[in-house]
Symmetry: C2
Subunit: 156 residues, 2 copies
DNA sequence: AATGTTAATGACAACCATTATCATTAAATA
DNA sequence: TATTTAATGATAATGGTTGTCATTAACATT
């Protein structure tokens, strides 16, 4: 799963360099893991995946890098109510494209959906504009999640 | 702030009784606190407020009751990214009415807004219907939050 | 009002995701 | 290759939340 050539995409290196950061093996491995899954991974999930190839990379490092990547906007952190955060590459860096989440409250399975975005975009634009003006808030983000019970969980 | 008569609204007692639950002093005090604030309180906030009048009510009891009230649908639990959950009475039991949240990412101030709900309701209905059908999910809830920087935080 | 049943409590320990500390290592640059 | 300092890894600490268990008190029944 990780890039065995040890280089990683060129643009990535640039991205880090120009911020005064370095491209390190753990950082690259973490991005690799995030880039090669459709799942929503916890810090520990990522740690375990990375650990297979680089057994000396520690959990602390994973947390540190995730925090940094979130701050850089390359990774997004989600809370699905499971007691631990989940991470995924942000829209610009993942193949998934813009999507939102549908979360099962029982098994915490998460479905990405990107249908129904037309209404949503309109609604979001309106609301963000209105709220920004009225409450003098500089809105940078939104979180839209639907919760429910998935098919599997509803039949047991 | 708590009802000194020690009775509380009648309908509440009924609500609990018919589920096999009991109306206890801690439970009542917690509901009282939640019913008499416009703030979004953490478990500890509630504990401290309750503690003033009933110093022997413990934090564990607060957590236990909150969990139970959330399961009953009387209280809603929110995560604003602060590292601890916040609680408020659900729409049906609070004077606030249906609203959503605008959260400052720096100071975690939360603004309730109920403007712009017209678009939202339409959008939500559409999306929920579509998602339910397509993904065979029984949708029960949604979470809509806007994040940004409040005026105060942006000028310092 | 007294009693019995059992939901609920309170004190404390345990849990577990996340963060802080700090000596050591290794990217990037010259 | 040497220098600088960002980044690492091991470990301890933090802090919100949950589990345990003996005790208490709501409520229905008598």
């Amino acid at each position: 799963m990780p890039n065995k050539d040890g280089a990683g995409p060129r643009w990535m290196h640039g991205k880090f360099k120009c911020c005064g950061y370095r491209m390190t093996k753990p950082r690259e491995a973490i991005l690799d893991v995030l880039g090669n899954t459709q799942e929503h991974l916890s810090a520990e999930d990522i740690y375990l995946a990375v650990h297979k190839f680089y057994p000396n990379i520690g959990l602390t490092t994973v947390y540190r890098n995730l925090e940094m990547l979130v701050n850089m906007g390359m990774v997004v952190k989600f809370d699905f109510g499971e007691g631990r955060s989940k991470y995924e590459l942000s829209d610009n860096y993942s193949g998934k494209g813009h999507h939102h989440h549908l979360v099962c409250k029982k098994c915490y399975k998460v479905i990405d959906y990107s249908d129904f975005m037309k209404d949503e975009v309109k609604f979001l634009k309106n609301t963000e504009d209105g709220l920004s003006k009225k409450y003098e808030f500089n809105i940078t983000d939104h979180l839209i999640q639907f919760f429910g019970i998935c098919k599997k969980c509803s039949t047991k």
